[in-house]
């Protein structure tokens, strides 16, 4: 069996369904792969580790990948895990903010990832506001508590499949403004990245084939797959994860290896316009179709 090491973007959660199910159902073994799954706490570190050759694959975010490539990290997207944005602008359902336009003069919390200002700027521009009209506060480790306790009026960077559910469970329902509906080009929230210089395309193809099979299994057997997932660790088996599982299902990429050149070109252009990157990279730099090689 070939060994392959995969760094998740964070602790195990339903977003990682295809990887966990593929492992539990033996789809990796079918591909003659032995997969080691590692969960870090700092989402910015897995891509660096892959770039440094410490792991074969990392789960990361498309927006960050664009920035990292410009900073010289030898990374490339090789597959997609979640094919839509999960990010949203979250407010209290009963709160004073009923439209992004109501944010004028209010506080918006964010967890520093590097591009929140650009995203929020675009959303505000869609509603005729600009960044100077609001106050941004980094609330790093506690997005929903900050919102629920009224310390901020909105947060950007919350995941629609989690924070929203979480607030419902806590009895303070929230409301999402979906970023792709507020002026941002759609993008892939979670992608697989590999080191473009050292990647073993064949192993990666086999890995992605296994996750593709797992995704199909999840879609076809949502209840059974949840039971498999929840059975892997007792701390995963709770009401929140169960509901999140259902909410995440439709967002898994059914074709993990599928390549949409336009998506990457549009987002690169968006970042360029926002002044976050100095030049435009060709899509072939950013992402590849491993099956084409």
């Amino acid at each position: 069996q070939d060994k392959i090491t995969v760094l998740l973007d964070w602790f195990v959660n339903p977003d990682h369904g295809p990887v966990i199910i593929a492992r539990e159902q033996g789809f990796f073994a079918e591909q003659n792969l032995e997969v080691e799954v590692i969960a870090p706490a700092d989402p910015s570190s897995p891509p660096k580790m892959v770039a440094a050759g410490q792991a074969d694959l990392a789960i990361s975010y498309q927006p960050q990948l664009h920035l990292q490539i410009h900073e010289g990290l030898p990374l490339q997207r090789v597959g997609t895990l979640i094919a839509t944005p999960l990010n949203c602008l979250l407010v209290l359902a009963e709160g004073p903010v009923q439209s992004p336009a109501d944010l004028k003069g209010r506080k918006v919390g964010f967890s520093v990832g590097g591009i929140e200002e650009a995203m929020l700027g675009q959303i505000l521009a869609t509603h005729g506001l600009e960044l100077a009209d609001i106050e941004m506060v980094n609330v790093n480790w506690s997005m929903s508590p900050a919102l629920m306790s009224g310390q901020v009026d909105a947060v950007i960077g919350a995941f629609r499949n989690f924070e929203l559910t979480q607030m419902e469970i806590e009895g303070r329902p929230g409301r999402c403004f979906y970023v792709e509906e507020e002026g941002l080009p759609p993008y892939d929230e979670l992608i697989y990245v590999a080191n473009k210089n050292t990647m073993d395309a064949d192993k990666i193809r086999r890995f992605l084939a296994a996750t593709e099979k797992a995704t199909q299994f999840i879609i076809n057997h949502p209840v059974e797959s949840w039971e498999v997932f929840a059975g892997t660790a007792p701390e995963l088996n709770d009401a929140l994860n169960k509901r999140a599982w259902t909410l995440t299902l439709p967002r898994f990429a059914l074709r993990p290896t599928a390549m949409d050149v336009g998506r990457y070109a549009r987002f690169e252009a968006f970042l360029y316009d926002a002044g976050l990157i100095p030049t435009l990279n060709p899509v072939s730099e950013i992402a590849i179709d491993v099956t084409a090689q």
Binding site: F11, V12, I38, A41, D42, S45, S149, Q166, E170, E235
Partner: protein, 246 residues
């Protein structure tokens, strides 16, 4: 034993204080759950917490041992040469002032995601208080005793071994007690940097998924571990100093 009575009083007093804070400040439960809810969560998840506590305890024990030894040795070396101290101490302060999270990628690059990186982080955190406190003690031997040693033709090494080190044991005790409190934090930070087990992992997981009560139950386990460690190190270092110090 009196200690036990005090421990019981604290065990009773702390939750009351905690509940009092909740009543007074009206903190919502998703930020600070009541002691009762945390106790429930701790009981329900007892197997989980025990399992993760054992992992963290191992890391803490290893980190404390290695950090204490490294710190002690460094302090002795620095005390052997004032020049070494003036050159190395700034470097130590320098490295110490770097928040561990910033070094995390480097550490995981070198030490991987296993036990080693947690131990290294715990060591990094406790190394400095041990070195610093012990060094201070080593350099505070009264001058007339050093004069006597000089007249006797003492070697530098023997002066260190027979005079300075015994003299500085109480200061080492101060450093070790601080280390006992910081070692668990070090291990937990190490687990945040990358791990799939341990109390730190459990905490972040619980926090990220709004299980505030489970998070606080894990915190409780961590605090109890720290308390026991502090008490044990305090006793051990009191024994170390039994011969009355000047």
């Amino acid at each position: 034993m009196i200690r036990v009575r005090y421990a019981l009083m604290v065990a009773l007093f702390a939750p009351l204080l905690w509940q009092g804070v909740i009543w007074l400040t009206d903190v919502p439960a998703f930020i600070l759950p009541s002691p009762w809810r945390v106790a429930q969560a701790a009981w329900i998840n007892r197997a989980l917490i025990t399992q993760h506590s054992l992992v963290t305890a191992t890391e803490v024990a290893a980190g404390l041992a290695v950090g204490a030894i490294l710190g002690t040795v460094t302090a002795v070396l620095l005390a052997l040469s004032a020049r070494a101290h003036r050159m190395v101490m700034p470097l130590l302060v320098f490295t110490q002032s770097l928040p561990v999270f910033a070094l995390a990628p480097i550490l995981t690059l070198w030490f991987g995601y296993g036990l080693a990186s947690k131990v290294v982080i715990a060591v990094l955190i406790i190394y400095f208080p041990v070195t610093s406190a012990f060094y201070d003690g080593l350099t505070r031997v009264p001058a007339d005793i050093l004069d006597m040693a000089k007249t006797m033709g003492a070697t530098k090494f023997q002066t260190m071994r027979r005079i300075k080190i015994p003299h500085a044991l109480p200061s080492l005790g101060t450093g070790l007690k601080l280390a006992a409190v910081y070692a668990p934090i070090g291990a937990v930070i190490g687990e945040w940097v990358g791990a799939s087990q341990g109390l730190g992992y459990l905490m972040l997981l619980a926090n990220g998924r709004a299980k505030t009560d489970l998070m606080f139950a894990s915190l409780l386990a961590l605090a109890i571990m720290t308390l026991v460690l502090h008490l044990a190190v305090g006793r051990a270092s009191a024994r170390l100093q039994r011969p009355e110090q000047p």
